[in-house]
Amino acid sequence: MADTTVKNDEIEMQKVAGPWKEAWRGFRKSKIAVVGMGIVIFFILLAIFGPLFTLQGINEQDLSQRFQPPSSTYWMGTDDFGRDILSRVVYGARISLWVGFLAVIASVIVGSILGILAGYYGKWIDTIISRFFDIMLAFPSILLAIAVVSVLGPSLRNALIAIAIINVPNFGRLIRSKVLSIKEDEYIMSAKAIGMQDIRILFSHILPNSMAPVIVQGTLAIATAIIEAAALGFLGLGAQAPTPEWGKMLADSRSFLTNAPWTMIFPGLAIMLTVLGFNLMGDGLRDALDPRMKS
């Protein structure tokens, strides 16, 4: 008798972990994902606080100091105008992350709305939205982005809009398929049986349960968005001089590759590391959030 009471107390004391907390626990188990998150956090901090600490201005030219190799004054050397590459790379983190996050958030919001409409209401709404996605996905994404930018005119803001647009069908499809499967779950039927309104079912049951794959896809999409922004910058369709955007920096220093390789190496390394960080983190999140991957 005494035993059972003790047991009951123990049960009562047990920490109750919600699904998000449990996912975090799973995420922490993967070392490589934590490393990825470390890289991401490092670049976020760099983007926020970095520009406060850099010694040289980002656009201050000093032609007497052109093409200085990395040294104790210029840690990453200088470019063809004698600008400090470290300062520019640090400031570039702000631009790239800003573009990555904003573009993905915009496409998640638009994609979610379209995906939910298509998945939940079905019928002709679904047909129209899905065919629209199919058409967009039929274009290679960078070509579509170039087309959008050439219509809107080349600038960082328009590059961001272009990247957001080309990512919409990915999220739209993802959410549509998730909503389609959740809609058939019995707890949706039971919510209807209780007498819940459609809109309330959408926000309280369907949306929270379809978020996990969106978070994973979103993290991975930030990496792609950063690369796409850099690619547009490289092609001269994104950020314009003298903005220290990483892709733009690569394009500008392309001709000095042989005599001043540091002008390309450091912005290139920054792109690679950021993208790697987001990808590692995204993979870890997928393992943690996807129940099928659980052992």
């Binding site: 109750v16 919600g18 699904p19 049986a193 209780i194 007498g195 049951h205 349960n209």
Partner: protein
């Protein structure tokens, strides 16, 4: 004379079969084809039948989770089938449902407290403090403890989850509970516990049940009256004892023959049916059972038998009993 709580007349559900890119409708699956019955206040009506005979579809149509193609459902003097969807939503306060799969019918991201509070929030019953109290009260009623409220569904066993499902159905003090195979996903030992709980609750809270199942033993245990469905039709309906002791429809006889009896010396007259259930997209003409019936007559192929009272409170849809029917 007990009052009729629910009356169903000529209920039909045809699902269109679409084909081609334009979704042209070229046929219908007649999941439920013209059934009528009524449920008295305080009784338990069991509905049995094979998978695909339309029993779950019937249950869902009663509270218009599926829109009936045709037919009338009257509940407590109110015609449900003519209500606007918003009024129907409000009417669901008095009719609740217990679902088959206790693993799928609870949202995995909500705590038990949130799940149980949902019906109260939806129908605006009580203030937050009263709601919380009611959640704890009902957890105790279904045999769980109030400290379970903060947990998530995955931390419970199947039987416990079904208790939560039942508690959710009870939150709004409904008059009628439609239980759609509430125990078929559970272990046999747990089935008994849940069935007994449902019976206790019925006595305590004066509930009326419609109990849908395929397990004849379970239905006999809990029901006052039983309806047997075959391919979208009601084949036979009678008080439980009458139906199990003296089944009239050949299909019911065959079903009951198939129930194993734990007595090797027991011998009975066996009614064996052959073949499979025909497709509801292309049901047989006349009596739907005639393709498998050992007592088939010529009339069975052409004329649909109507469900008629052959003995007192014993309804059967079969041409064999046409003569004994009072005209």
């Amino acid at each position: 004379m007990t009052e009729q709580l629910l009356k169903v007349e000529g209920l039909k559900k045809y699902f269109p079969i679409k084909s081609g890119i334009f979704g042209k409708v070229n046929n219908y699956v007649k999941a439920v084809d013209d059934i009528s019955f009524s449920v008295k206040e305080g009784e338990t009506l069991g509905i049995v039948g094979e998978s695909g005979c339309g029993k779950s579809t019937t249950g869902r149509m009663l509270m218009r989770l599926l829109e009936p193609t045709e037919g009338k459902v009257t509940f407590d003097g109110q015609e449900l089938t003519s209500l606007s969807s918003n009024d129907m939503r409000k009417a669901r306060r008095d009719i609740q449902m217990v679902f088959q799969d206790p693993y799928a019918s609870l949202n995995p991201r909500h705590t038990i407290e949130k799940i149980l509070m949902e019906p109260l929030n939806v129908h605006n019953i009580g203030d937050p403090k009263e709601r919380k109290q009611k959640v704890h009260e009902f957890l105790e009623i279904v045999g769980l403890s109030s400290y379970h409220a903060k947990r998530y569904p995955h931390q419970f066993s199947g039987g416990q989850r079904q208790r939560i499902g039942i508690a959710r159905a009870l939150m709004t003090n409904p008059k009628l509970i439609i239980a759609d195979e509430p125990v078929s996903a559970l272990d046999v030992s747990i089935q008994a516990q849940v069935l007994n709980l449902m019976q206790d609750l019925q006595k305590e809270l004066k509930l009326t049940y419609i109990f849908i199942a395929h397990d004849l033993g379970v239905v006999r245990h809990i029901s006052d009256r039983v309806g047997v469905m075959y391919l979208g039709n009601m084949a036979e309906m009678a008080n439980t004892e009458d139906l199990y002791e003296k089944p009239l429809h050949p299909y019911t006889q065959a079903l009951l023959t198939a129930v194993p009896v734990p007595d090797p010396a027991f011998e009975r007259e066996e009614v064996v049916i052959k073949g499979d259930v025909p497709s509801p997209a292309n049901p047989p003409s006349g009596c739907r059972f005639h393709t498998r019936c050992p007592f088939k007559m010529d009339i069975c192929e052409t004329t649909i038998p109507i469900l008629a009272e052959v003995e007192k409170d014993h309804y059967v849809a079969c041409h064999l009993y046409e003569e004994s029917r009072p005209q």
